[in-house]
Symmetry: C2
Subunit: 352 residues, 2 copies
DNA sequence: ATTAGCACTCTCTATCAGTGAGTGCTAATA
DNA sequence: TATTAGCACTCACTGATAGAGAGTGCTAAT
């Protein structure tokens, strides 16, 4: 499929197409043939460029907002541009991402090593400030994290506090209702039991296999086991996935969002975040940087926008995904490098 | 001061002023004399109303966007309207806030009794959906909450998890670096010591008095004490106040925000939340509903907007504050009732 | 195959007149 | 004296019109 596109277009057309996309990304006015010849010295006259652009339009890479206006890239045009970007060395662009910046940012992240939430907030605000896009971090799926230990603490009256710690450092605490007669000693016994049974397993394994096995097996009627299981299930209930979002303010300074309705759509999509979560979860199955352009996007309110993502990992294991959402006209070469770099920084932070 | 205003205006002027404010809140078009006479049967001709409106303008309650347009309330006009609102019984307005709604909402909050954060999120989303304003909850100042107990759990290597529980149910956990040789037994001793010393005191008392006394007094050189103090201080460090915000999307549907620049200003103020936090902290010193109108507002980006707040309490003790931020043209009678009602619901939830 | 030339198209801006809602003022009225 | 009817006036808004400017497609020449 991608090969096809490269075959269809000869070298000259490709260069013109990329030039048009670059110009348009640079300034959101339709790009005319004259302008292209002046900015890039192709050695052709505007008329020739016009013919090429006309062909590109027929093939669906460009379109005219109206007769007698310059051309604007279509989603397909952007797609071609992005694909040819990853081929060529796109270094030189994205001057914000200097080695010094990476160094400084990595050190800043280190400070958050004991507080992942704060780290994700830091990542989103930094990314959105630099890119003028909305940035999102999808934290690791809780189910994929590894049970380290649970502690149960008697609080007041019939309440107990459950503290769940995973190997990834993700910590979850919750107040539970329980039998008022239960003592701290009882709780210690229950926690001890759970720790012995579950330690080293992922939360998904626990909820899908271990729990049901425990319920099934011989000590089904054992009071301790049934109590422990019930408490664990309470502690894990209602764990909705959440995302970290920032940059709605920053994205408003992009000229593409000069009308309120687009901002409104985007805000709505963010507010009803489940669709975005679903999309990002899907994207996080693939390694490396991914770009979803305009209508390739399955979410209604996000059509007309593009998403650039990169997975961050602990060692080899993918943990979550970092995303930038912005206009299809975004500076892909810049955002791609940014998301990629930042994701690597995050991965590195998890690694030491 | 307030008395003055009521003295300056005779009954007729007051009624006209309130009519103009009501009309304008209803529909954001300048209100003409004719329109007022038709909508309200004052028994006067438009000419008379014109004279009255002219006086009101001279006194600064109304202004004209341009000659030959109707009148629009000034901040002072809104102020008068709001003040006279709290006098009269404003029942009948705010049809959203039925007893059934309150009942249903209270029950919903009950479900969140063990998870305050989730409750605050629920409050903000509900409020902003109903009011089309941005809604904010300022949680209780950590310093005012009462130490219940701390638990220290050995995690991996040199890390320990500190779990701090307060009487209000606010729970704080943090991963700390510590001496790798320390054992769980040591940690239990340290926690036991802290619990014995601090239980029942507010976090402010602890940090302002108890800690320094501990450091000063005879067992200054005791290893256990110094270790315990150091761990407590680590656990409490960097506790920045945070707020719960929702409704940026909802507020965009108000016609007052049809231009992007105002939304941008508001987003910016929210993004740089410290000023808002400062304002709300100030407002939360006063009991009951408060209304800050337009330029009365000290925050630059919030001038031109109004803030309606109400404190929520546990028993008699004020905990935090609930706020709505919207255009000065907001429906005050509605938002006031809403904020007031919701704050009472929250207080009630804390009480049982 | 490329290019110069030219007529054409379409947006954008400015200008202008007409409309309508609303005002302020004045003189008449209760 | 307070109220009102009448009237001239103001100003935003709308729609039509014209001119400028940028860009195109097509054709004929190179």
């Amino acid at each position: 499929m991608e090969k096809d596109i490269f075959d269809i277009l000869d070298d000259r057309s490709r260069r013109v197409l990329n030039a048009v996309v670059c110009c348009y990304i640079d300034k959101p006015d339709p790009v005319g043939s004259r302008f292209v010849t002046r900015k890039y010295s192709f050695g052709f006259s505007p008329a020739t460029i016009r013919n090429i652009m006309s062909d590109l339009e027929e093939m669906g890479f460009l379109r005219q907002p109206h007769t007698s206006a310059g051309r604007v890239p279509t989603d397909k045009g952007y797609r071609f541009y992005v694909d040819s970007l990853s081929g060529a060395g796109e270094a030189g662009r994205a001057p914000e991402v200097t080695p010094e910046f990476v160094e400084r940012f990595s050190r800043r992240l280190d400070a958050f090593r004991n507080d992942v939430s704060a780290m994700y907030s830091e990542v989103t605000t930094t990314l959105s400030t630099l890119s003028n896009c909305v940035s999102i971090v999808l934290p690791p799926k809780a189910g994929n994290t590894t049970f380290n230990r649970i502690d149960l603490i008697k609080y007041r009256g019939d309440q107990i506090v459950a503290l769940l710690i995973t190997d990834e450092g993700i910590i979850r605490n919750k107040v539970l209702q329980s039998d008022p007669m239960i003592t701290q000693d009882d709780l210690n016994r229950l926690a001890g039991f759970l720790n012995a049974e579950f330690s080293g397993h992922t939360l998904d394994e626990i909820s899908q296999q271990l729990l049901s096995r425990l319920k099934r097996e011989k000590y089904q009627w054992d009071k301790l086991v049934s109590r422990a299981v019930s408490i664990y299930e309470q502690a894990m209930s209602a764990s909705q996935e959440d995302i970290f979002v920032a940059g709605l303010y920053d994205v408003m300074s992009m000229p593409d969002f000069s009308d309120l309705s687009r901002i409104k759509e985007l805000s709505k999509a963010i507010k009803e975040k489940h669709e975005i979560i679903k999309l990002l979860a899907e994207l996080s199955k693939v390694d490396g940087v991914q770009v979803v352009i305009g209508n390739e996007n399955p979410i209604e309110g996000l059509k007309g926008l593009s998403v650039v993502t990169s997975v961050y990992k602990e060692g080899e294991r993918p943990m979550g995904i970092i995303a930038l959402i912005g206009p299809t006209r975004m500076d892909y070469s810049k955002t791609i490098i940014m998301v990629d770099t930042i994701a690597k920084c995050v991965s590195r932070t998890f690694d030491d």
